[in-house]
Amino acid sequence: MSTPDKTNQDMFSPLKIGTHSLKSRLIVGTGKYDTLALMRDSLAASGSDCVTVAVRREKLYDREGKNLLDFIDLDRFTLLPNTAGCYNATDAVRVARLGREILRSLENPGADWVKLEVLGDSKTLLPDPLATLEACKRLVDDGFQVLCYTSDDPIMAVRLKSAGAASVMPAGSPIGSGQGILNPNNLKIILEYLKSDDPDYPVIIDAGVGTASDVAIAFELGADGVLLNTAIAHARDPVAMASAMRHATEAGRLAYLAGRIPRKLYATASSPEEGLITSRPW
């Protein structure tokens, strides 16, 4: 049995991904907010110290004059650039390199890593496994620490880890769907397979979170981190939801470390069986 000291120590241990070390186990996206000010306040409330960003063309016309980075405290947040919107390995590698170039000039520690996302279909936004594996290999060869978005397929997760991914990030359910964790059994198998001889290997549940309980469930299953965006950005009150996600991260992680009781089919009384003044019906 873990001692309270051990549980407490594990609770506050950083999330280590490759050479990076994050204080919070919650990684949040910066997309889909109504305003950049609302995004800034939500990021603050989430307690996160790592945010994802996307690489896109500069708008040459109708510029608002404000850049996303004016609203992100680069001393607090490590940026994690993504390859969202890429449908083949060549595009993903190209976008990853452009993201690295921007972050290098900002002197942000996130310059050497990337959230790899290679999609197979614009309706489901499910990953293309073959193109994801190919892009992962190429980016690892190019010196990137690759955090790899994938489906909840355990065999694919093993392949990506073998290809050198710094973290495998299975989806709970499709991106932006808010369906939560559809197949906890697959995630349990992924966690078992990837950690069997490497217990500190980071597995992050990425995508599909709808509300705080989904985050808590991910951590209770043993995930090392959760990455989410839409569940905060499109909540009725994003700042309040960001706070809820922070609490769910702590609650889920702490519950995992504390160790849940086994599920049993029949009841077990909490009050003593001895000393009853009443009689049982049978």
Binding site: T30, A54, R57, A84, I102, S105
Partner: protein, 67 residues
């Protein structure tokens, strides 16, 4: 004048313009951007010396919100 392609759009610019000058004319802060010229990333310290020629394809990208 020469014709280049910038972020997917045809654009006429003067001869002998550097990437740095083009960014300035386009009101783009080089701090937050990366530049790809004919599919090769241009290091920031070369923006002033790299001159554009007719037919060049330029991509100027920045970071935006994403998940």
């Amino acid at each position: 004048m020469i014709c280049i392609e910038m972020n997917g759009n045809r654009k006429e610019i003067e001869d002998d313009v550097s990437i740095a000058q083009l960014l300035e004319q386009s009101e783009i802060s080089s701090r937050f951007c990366a530049v790809e010229l004919n599919l090769e990333i241009v290091p920031k310290d070369e923006y002033g010396s790299r001159r554009l020629v007719s037919g060049d394809k330029l991509e100027v990208v920045t970071l935006v919100g994403g998940g």
